[in-house]
């Protein structure tokens, strides 16, 4: 056998695909997968939310509230009680044991956390002028519970964060970013959800207090500081002025009376939790909880 030296042109062992083209295909595929996941998450959350029992939600809420430095506030709870009493007898909200809490925070905001924890920031209480106004805020949050908006929002954020953790690991920057974006308690509801909660809140306020006084005060005051409408075109919250207008139209259409408001008591004005309970104290027992359930 004769050896003929010959240099072989070309290379069969290395693929010709450009690495950037491959990166494009792979990232594109990943984005597509994520998109499908996100869309299906939205659909499945909507289906699941209606079926999640309140007890499961309470469990979730306990894990969530553990991270927030909050105390049950007796004065706030007193405002909440007439609203709860005036709920229709068949309302699903009766299954919750609502706890109104105050958190030291300068923001004028309130949150509906899973499990019936209504959190009001002290900044809101410092600005509030009447009991009715705070009651309207509480009733609005009850509206979110009635429509289970808080779970809808958390559901998708929770799913995305879990997905990020599975893909990138628990300590990675990507998971951190995902949880920051999707799991923030201050994140917003959609305009429709807010408007629906406003309507629910107004009805409840009228049922509890007999008139619609103070219903628009909070949004009117926030509206003064909100400035231009342009940033609100894309925001999830409606502009406060629009909310005031919507509420006023509803009050006029239903013929609700608007009477004098009750001034806010000093105990709430300070915006500080008054309960003597230590923050980390657990409720005495399960029976204890059962009896205090509404």
């Amino acid at each position: 056998m004769k050896f003929t030296p010959k240099h072989i042109e070309g290379n069969v062992n290395v693929s010709k695909t450009h690495p950037l083209a491959e990166l494009g295909w792979l990232v594109g595929g990943l984005v597509l997968l994520a998109l499908i996941f996100y869309l299906s998450l939205g659909v499945s959350t909507d289906i699941a939310v209606a079926k999640i029992p309140v007890s499961a939600e309470v469990w979730l809420g306990e894990h969530f509230i553990g991270r927030m430095d909050a105390l049950e506030n007796e004065s706030l709870q007193r405002l909440l009680q007439p609203l709860l009493d005036s709920l229709p007898a068949d309302s699903p909200l009766h299954e919750y044991r609502f706890q109104a809490q105050v958190v030291e925070n300068e923001q004028t905001n309130a949150l509906a956390l899973p499990g019936g924890h209504i959190v009001v920031f002290s900044g809101l209480l410092k600005q509030a002028e009447s009991e009715n106004e705070v009651a309207m805020v509480l009733a609005h949050e009850l509206g979110h519970y009635a429509h289970r908006d808080h779970l809808r929002r958390l559901g998708r954020g929770l799913g995305l964060t879990v997905a990020a953790i599975i893909l990138f690991g628990q300590d990675s920057a990507a998971s951190d970013l995902a949880s920051k974006f999707f799991l923030v308690s201050e994140s917003h509801y959609s305009r429709e959800q807010e408007s629906a909660a406003d309507r629910f809140g107004l009805e409840l306020l009228v049922a509890g207090y007999g008139h619609a006084g103070g219903a628009t005060d909070f949004f009117a005051r926030v509206g003064k500081g909100a400035g231009s409408r342009i940033p609100y075109l894309l925001a999830s919250h409606p502009h406060p002025d629009d909310r005031v207008k919507e509420l006023q139209e509803l009050i006029a259409a239903r013929g609700y009376r608007v009477d004098a408001v009750i001034p806010l008591g000093q105990d709430l004005r300070k915006g500080l939790p008054l309960s003597k309970e230590s923050p980390d104290k657990e409720p005495a027992s399960v029976e204890d909880r059962q009896t205090s359930r509404l």
């Binding site: 050896f3 240099h7 290395v14 693929s15 690495p19 990166l23 792979l26 595929g29 990943l30 920057a173």
Partner: protein, 159 residues
């Protein structure tokens, strides 16, 4: 811009490593292939076979072991593509060139050694491949591939 970099040092580092990995990796690979092809053409006359050598009595003056070894490093860009490939499956095309370069470079080094020692051919060529820094790979580090080529260099009794 600067604020974003400091806010997410991990992500910034990741992107920087990607860009460095791609640009430097591509330049290094192009230069390496250029040199491989040039040297392969120079050494094309030196025969290398992986068959066992059988020679007539008295044909071989001497024989000795020659070997060539090379280590080629992975880069972050290739690693990212490989990770993405792990999700979808299929050929990890970016790693093919790593293996190919390491193998050809190792054979070239072996041939260079054989030529300097005056060999006429290399028989019984064997190739071994191993990874270096495999366990380091798990700690967000990067691994390398080592290829070892070895064979028996033969010096013939030629006039």
């Amino acid at each position: 811009m600067l604020e974003t970099i400091f806010r997410y040092p991990d992500l910034s580092l990741f992107l920087a490593l990607m860009v460095i990995g791609y640009s430097c990796g591509t330049i290094a690979e192009k230069r390496h292939y250029k040199s491989i092809i040039k040297r392969e053409q120079e050494l094309v006359e030196l025969m290398v076979v992986n068959a066992e050598g059988r020679f007539a009595e008295g044909a071989v003056r001497t024989s000795f072991l020659v070997n060539g070894s090379t280590v080629v490093s992975n880069d972050y860009f290739k690693r990212l593509l490989a990770i993405l490939r792990n999700i979808f499956g299929g050929r990890v095309k970016v790693y093919e060139s790593l293996i190919d370069r390491a193998r050809r470079e190792a054979i070239l080094r072996m041939k260079e050694e054989a030529r300097t020692r005056g060999a006429h051919m290399i028989v019984n060529l064997r190739l071994e491949t191993s990874t270096i820094g495999r366990s380091a790979n798990k700690k967000k580090s990067i691994g390398s591939i080592e290829t070892l080529a070895y064979g028996t260099a033969v010096v013939m009794n030629r006039p």
